[in-house]
Symmetry: D2
Subunit: 341 residues, 4 copies
């Protein structure tokens, strides 16, 4: 549950209340300050929580029913914009991140960053850690690649997004990357999410390919409740019984996230379709559904990439600018139609 | 399998060859003339088919692997346009059918037809037969409503689309309706599909909510192989593990159908979303994916409808014209972008 | 909805009440006598039903919420045993139907019937009509095979189960077959289900491979509400995201059906697994879950069957007796353990 | 890929070859000794691997196609029995682990251990770490509970199984627990799996509720390739479109795992059904499918548990012995029937 306290409660007050509320050994409580408000996050069976009296306590918010509260738009705790580099995601403009999945060649990636920047992208994505289904795939350069990532960042002139998969890497990676991405397969990795809560970097949280929207929101709540209000929700398709495209395009989930939360929601037309030819319509359709941004796989020379499967979904860099312009146009058109009124 | 004959083979030749090829009692063969070409459709284990010699035989097309051949674009048997009323579906313009699901009040439906015609729709939908999951729902007016349907047709000034669910009704309904719709739950109703093959009316074939694209194409093949090349494929969402909208929007299937076949494919943003508020983005996104048309539920007074659930997804008639204009605009924009190149 | 009347209401009373209740043109009502009780089945929006007063009316049962009432165990309308041939399904013993899917060779099928009878089976299955996904497969001998079916029945010494797929065939087939089977793809074929309601033969209702238990129960309600209380529910696996076996084994649905209804529920270990090697464990597991019977594909010479895919799932006839004995043993053992207490 | 070397290659040889093979910075290689055989595990794009010549190299095993090799039965690398405590899982007898999900009260858990030991269980399960979907649930006692776990182990007289979710906890927990469990939500947590590969403890690897069998096997390969051959596969149901029970019972996956690998496979009838009443049939059916063991939730006083949802699936301790006896009986019966022949 969440205990809301008077906005200007001191650290000492928080600590003292946390101790009293979490008197039972199977209850934990920690402070959380968000949007000028002051909370204690309480983990444990609600029946064991000591409901102490205190003039500082404004409300006891039960989380038993839905499992999330902080990310709920109704509670107005989160900002509508997530800062990323010198810009932000959400709150109006259509943001764009672009680049390869994994950081392979540094020079290729610097060149990608330069090209996507000129095409209007706001960030480059290049991961040092990749979650692979088996142990034999290239797992990314790992921590040893941090200097390469710094080179990309400096050379490309764009903030960098990189994936992180192990809680032990979060601290070091957060020193270099501007945004930390969570793979669909780590959406329920509690230890990682908790660590990201303390990372001080915005988190790009991909939906699990078989996760419900409620599970996705609870994963976001995990990060926020551990101290980080800057979560970007990234839809990227879900598994279906029929694979016309790599995944079913989850625009309904985009609409649902927008209804439930103020967190920005972006769409990945590359992984969701698995096909360069389908990236444009998938991106346009996402724009129609009002996404706050797009995350597009692109590479100037896909044939040099390690995995041929990835290469098949690279959108040509030289067409990115036109695609983004069209996306902005249809997004405005849909908004003008008052599509969701 | 399909046996292709010389284009100008006579009926007598066909009958004679059919008898010789289907000599085994568990093999059946019947003639099919399509696009100036001449076929024998052969149903039965390919090992039992008598591969007779004849100067008239051009080719033996095996259907063992995929189960369809006639609807395959590669074989160029089907027209790109399906005639419907005095117009057609497919081949360029964005077609629109609109109206309620079931024909309830005649006067309301005539009014709907008039309004959607003014908004630019090409046909009105009003069904006499509804497939219901249980026996207690209003199943439609049935054959007793044929005169009501004729009234809607005359009064509304638009061709009418009506559902048919029982092979015994096809003949009578085809006398009045301009287009016969197959419900998702009847997509695998072989007796119905075969009868529709002889109906002389275009068939609007809805995808089963849990059917694969291959199963959907095989259902179309059913109709075509029984003599009717005029099938309109209608995507309307599929069941998923998560219900942010009523169904998962199956744009990937739209793309797949366009890739595999020349049959026009349309989208139903009403049943697929189950929510009036989501109809506009769902329709726009379908336009982006290049659909040939839209089938939109609308009613001037949803509160009078029998099922409140249906009422919740009625798009306001007075906004239909603007929606169609926007859909045409984004469709052109996507095409200009060479989205599927 | 269902209107329950005094048990001995006359036909004239029923007809008169039906007329008064269904005064609105979009409401239909028909009489139903079951288990010594007397009902009017009313189809249509409940708001349009005329709630007339009559001393004969015992209760108005709403069906709005769940869509079924007659099959609900709580209402005790249905018998626990369905008569089939000179025996019955349900109510204690483990019933077994066995045989090929389609009737192909008469002599092979008579031989199968003789063999499965000796192994302890209660009925032979051999279908004249097969629902095929495409038009090119052998669709069964059709009506022309009725005499062949009669031969199998006479020669094999067992009641015969045959599939029916077109409402126009029900009457003729019911003259010969002892039990009429509904394919998963026809589970929602309303016209067929209604016709089966008047067939006077027990109906073996297969679950759609993607149907929910509620949809399945509503399909049974369809048959029962049209006059036929003798429905045998047949679980046969459902589609899943992973195909270790042909289908996911739906034992949970078996348990659910047993909880909700008195209708007997049987299991098809052949279609659900698609593999002869998995038939035995799948059948044993079904027995553990307390099924009332098994429907097992078997054929003395699978290599002669038309479809190699079907051949792969034929259980060896000579092992059937041992399998049934084992199934009875584990079923008793599970019952003794009070498994569902 | 995997490089197989002469069985008695020295550490120095392995290190030297690893360096030469993984000369490219995006390739990594490490030694692995299993079953008296000697391998180098190579992670990275196979095109970048330096295929050096060496007399010590016996074979280059490509893993590109399926993603696993070590767990493949055909390669005979793994033992059929996994040691656990002083006993083992697999290779003949039916093993049983029982106990609550989370370690809550120490005295209750010691009592549980004592009771399940008397009932014939081989291990007690009590977790210090629980993966929760949201941050507000009791996440387990964590590392602070290690002494409590040691108490349970000493007091109950059984080896203990405990979950681990964070790679940083693996070392400390492996000091106390006899077996480390991986939650379905961590099945794709690469960092955790790699760490477990070096833990020296058997790993109980639960299938993700939406994971394919291939993904599950690749997770096992992860652990094995990092040095630990002792993986117990635990099936526990998968998500389906219909929830008659909590999950679809994945017996097909049990059969598939047994076909593909020598790793023992057990079944969890408690989480898969979510209902105490369904535990017995689910366990018996698992036995019929030849599982090597069962993992059963039980607690002497479910009403004291923190989560009422968990309490609903606790099997009564006093009926465990009878259930295990029945499971052994049906397992033998199925084996005698040569069910999978």
């Amino acid at each position: 549950m969440l205990v809301e306290l008077a906005p200007h409660s001191s650290d000492a007050e928080l600590a003292s209340l946390a101790t009293r509320i979490a008197r039972h050994e199977d209850v934990t409580a920690w402070p959380l300050r968000l949007a000028g408000r002051c909370f204690l996050v309480v983990a444990g069976d609600e029946r064991l929580v000591h409901r102490v009296s205190s003039a500082a306590i404004r409300a006891w918010h039960s989380t038993a029913e839905r499992g999330y509260w902080l990310v709920d738009r109704a509670n107005a705790v989160l900002p509508r914009r997530v800062p990323l580099g010198s810009g932000h995601v959400g709150g109006g403009d259509l943001w764009c991140g672009a680049g390869p999945c994994a950081l392979e060649s540094v020079s290729d990636t610097v060149r990608t960053a330069t090209m996507v920047r000129r095409a209007g992208a706001d960030a480059v994505r290049a991961s040092l850690f990749k979650v692979r289904s088996g142990p034999y795939h290239f797992p990314g350069k790992g921590r040893g690649g941090l200097s390469a990532l710094a080179e990309v960042r400096a050379g490309g002139g764009l903030p960098v997004i990189t994936e992180v998969a192990d809680p032990r890497d979060v601290g070091a990676v957060a020193q270099v990357a501007d945004c930390l991405q969570v793979d669909p397969r780590n959406m329920t990795n509690r230890a990682l999410l908790a660590e990201l809560g303390g990372s001080g970097r915005p988190v790009l949280l991909m939906r699990g390919v078989r996760a419900t929207v409620a599970e996705w929101l609870k994963a976001a709540e995990y990060v926020v409740s551990h101290g980080n209000p800057h979560v970007i929700m990234c839809a990227r398709g879900v598994v279906s019984f029929d694979r016309s495209l790599a995944y079913q395009l989850d625009y309904g989930a985009v609409a649902a996230v927008r209804r439930h939360t103020d967190l920005p929601v972006i769409f990945d037309p590359s992984h969701s379709t698995g096909s360069a030819a389908a990236v444009a319509p998938a991106a346009l359709a996402a724009a129609v559904f009002g996404v706050d941004g797009l995350l597009i796989e692109t590479h100037p020379a896909p044939e040099r990439m390690y995995r041929p499967g990835d290469a098949a979904q690279m959108y040509p860099v030289d067409r990115l600018a036109a695609l983004l312009a069209a996306c902005r146009q249809v997004r405005d058109l849909a908004a003008g139609l008052d599509a969701f009124a």
